[in-house]
């Protein structure tokens, strides 16, 4: 499979502070790649480098086969970016916002209704941006990123600050875009989102990538499936699944008719993150 993005030994320094430290990874075409980490871990800096907003201090990266250091004009034609902040023109209508960006990319006029249709906002094209909800604005952000029909989409914290319903809609939209063959690069600190969406996940911590694999493998490698047994007398036993301990406990309680409830709990990305960093990854982080 071809690579959409290749990152090699990328570093970025702001004065003495090293925001990104020698990271390397590659992304297959048509997949969703997630960069998971707390705020300040280096996610946004990485996206800035890959979208040619900021040059790396050292190392290199290729996006869509083009070098970020020398081919920014080519890269900007191939990518669409959904920023973390909803940077739309609030006084202008949905149509006027999209029409402006359509002109920047020299896309045909018909593209506006096409992208609005794709994000389910066609009936809102005359509405001023400032009258829309946060979830609706996020859909317009995605529509804007799609206006040039890019091969690669960068989404910086796409579900951040959205209500659960809107966040779910955005996730479905991202999966739909993947089904249309788009390569999607997501940064997030939402583990559920990362687990649900990503084909490949990199955990970034203090500027370094500390794990890189599929979410399933990360959970398998760094997390543990747990069995939780509740007895009739209310006692709770927890033990890793498929171990001698868990079998012995189960056998013992079952022989004495003590078992009231048995749950199995799958390993999560959070378990993997805690194991790797010794820290919790919360929305407040």
């Amino acid at each position: 499979m071809d690579k959409a993005i290749v990152v090699e030994n990328l570093s970025k320094k702001y004065g003495d502070f090293e925001a990104v430290k020698n990271i390397s990874f590659s992304i297959e075409k048509g997949t969703i790649f997630g960069l998971l980490g707390p705020n300040g871990a280096g996610k946004s800096t990485t996206i800035k480098i890959l979208t040619c907003q900021s040059p790396p201090t050292s190392g290199n990266a290729h996006v869509g086969g083009f070098n970020v250091l020398t081919d920014s004009a080519e890269i900007t034609k191939k990518i669409g970016v959904v920023f973390e902040s909803q940077n739309l023109y609030e006084e202008l209508s949905v149509y006027e916002n999209l029409n402006f960006f359509r002109r920047l990319y020299s896309s045909p006029k018909e593209k506006i209704s096409e992208v609005l249709q794709a994000v389910g906002m066609k009936t809102h094209q005359k509405d001023k941006i400032k009258t829309l909800s946060k979830g609706m604005k996020q859909k317009i952000m995605i529509a804007r990123a799609l206006i040039s029909d890019p091969d690669i989409l960068f989404l910086d914290e796409p579900g951040s600050g959205l209500d659960p319903h809107s966040a779910r809609e955005i996730r479905q939209m991202i999966l739909y875009l993947k089904s249309r063959g788009k390569t999607i690069f997501i940064t997030t600190h939402n583990m559920e989102e990362a687990d649900f969406l990503c084909d490949c996940l990199a955990i970034i911590h203090k500027g370094r990538i500390i794990a890189l694999d599929t979410p399933k493998n990360l959970k398998k490698k760094y997390g543990e499936d747990i069995v939780r047994i509740e007895t009739v007398s209310g006692e709770i036993y927890e033990s890793p699944l498929n171990t001698k301990d868990s079998s012995d406990i189960f056998k013992h309680l079952s022989e004495n008719n003590q078992i009231f409830l048995v749950h199995s709990k799958e390993a999560t990305i959070e378990d993997a993150f805690i194991k790797l960093t010794g820290e919790k990854l919360t929305d407040e982080s």
Partner: protein
């Protein structure tokens, strides 16, 4: 440089500015001030000056004579202190203290004293200072030794002398206040980031916004010219100065916006720079030193260029040094602005 991108930015800024009340206010300010100034000048003919008069004794006929003059509103007081109090409270523009037996001494052919105090900060005092001697001569029965035939320019021609000043003010005001507003708002709301990840470059943003600023300043300048009469003199030269001047002040506005992080810092900085840029060409004739300093600012070249083109009918062949100076200012300002914006976006 991508012409489609530049035009897209121009159109977007135009639509945004129509929908933005702050920008509309800034755009209408020079037009409003120009109309206000023109109407104030025409009202000046009918000014009535309030004066306080204290008669120390026996000069009722002189006080009555002052009261009979249409352009004075005489307030008779009973003491010097009361007269001064009215002056300090700005209820009168001047006070006249008439000494005892002033009228009688005048009749006898003596030269009596008259004590007059004016408030120079009250514009009406100028009218009093221009007329009080006539009033005294008239009372003494003396006539002015010369028959003066005083004429003034026809009303339609007077306002054309204001055009270079108003055009310069408009170009500086709009260029240095509207443009920083559009760019700093893009920075603050991070819409500039969205533009810069598209095929638009920093140069395209600068040129697109400059084009927008140029359009606005030329449009408002033409409105100002229309309000103040009509276009006179060498049209081509004047337009060249307006275009080059607009470009340089639009560029300075963008440079300020590129160097600052938010709109309030940009507008503060713009206001600080705007004052000397407007005042220096206007005050250049006051002293040799101010004259020298005024050559350091582009507004001087624009102001004198428009003035010469409109009032002296000067052509490009006579004005090329000033045009060249404006061109150099443009190159310097736009090179700096592009450099700063590129550097800032790469932080």
């Amino acid at each position: 440089m991508n012409l489609n991108v530049i035009l897209a930015i121009f159109r977007k800024d135009l639509v945004s500015s129509v929908k933005n009340k702050n920008i509309l206010m800034i755009l209408l300010t020079p037009i409003f001030l120009s109309i206000l100034f023109t109407s104030t000048i025409s009202l000046a003919d009918n000014i009535v000056v309030p004066i306080a008069v204290y008669d120390e004794g026996l000069s009722d006929d002189f006080v009555k004579h002052l009261g009979s003059i249409d352009s004075y509103e005489v307030i008779i007081t009973d003491s010097v202190d009361k007269s001064e109090e009215l002056l300090y409270k700005e209820e009168v523009a001047a006070i006249v203290i008439v000494p005892k037996r002033f009228s009688a001494d005048l009749e006898k052919g003596f030269t009596p004293s008259l004590n007059i105090t004016v408030n120079p900060y009250d514009a009406k005092s100028i009218v009093f200072l221009q007329t009080y001697k006539d009033a005294i001569m008239d009372f003494a029965g003396q006539e002015y030794p010369v028959n003066v035939s005083l004429n003034t320019l026809p009303a339609g021609l007077q306002s054309r002398f204001n055009i270079p000043t108003w055009v310069m003010f408009t170009v500086i005001f709009v260029g240095m206040l509207v443009l920083p507003n559009t760019l700093t708002t893009e920075k603050e709301k991070k819409t500039l980031d969205a533009i810069l990840v598209s095929p638009a470059s920093e140069k395209d943003v600068i040129y697109g916004k400059s084009f927008f600023g140029l359009f606005l300043t030329i449009l408002i300048s033409l409105v100002i010219i229309f309000i103040n009469g009509r276009f006179i003199g060498n049209l081509l030269s004047a337009l060249l100065f307006i275009v080059l001047g607009s470009a340089v002040f639009t560029g300075i506005g963008l440079l300020i916006a590129s160097c600052t992080e938010n709109y309030s810092s940009a507008s503060l900085l713009s206001t600080i720079f705007m004052m000397p840029l407007i005042l220096l060409p206007l005050l250049a004739d006051l002293s040799r030193e101010i004259g020298y300093v005024s050559y350091l600012v582009p507004s001087t070249y624009m102001f004198y260029g428009i003035k010469d083109a409109m009032l002296n009918n000067s052509g490009i062949s006579e004005l090329y040094p000033a045009l060249g100076a404006l061109l150099i200012f443009n190159i310097v300002v736009y090179t700096l602005t592009t450099y700063v914006l590129r550097k800032k976006s790469y932080i």
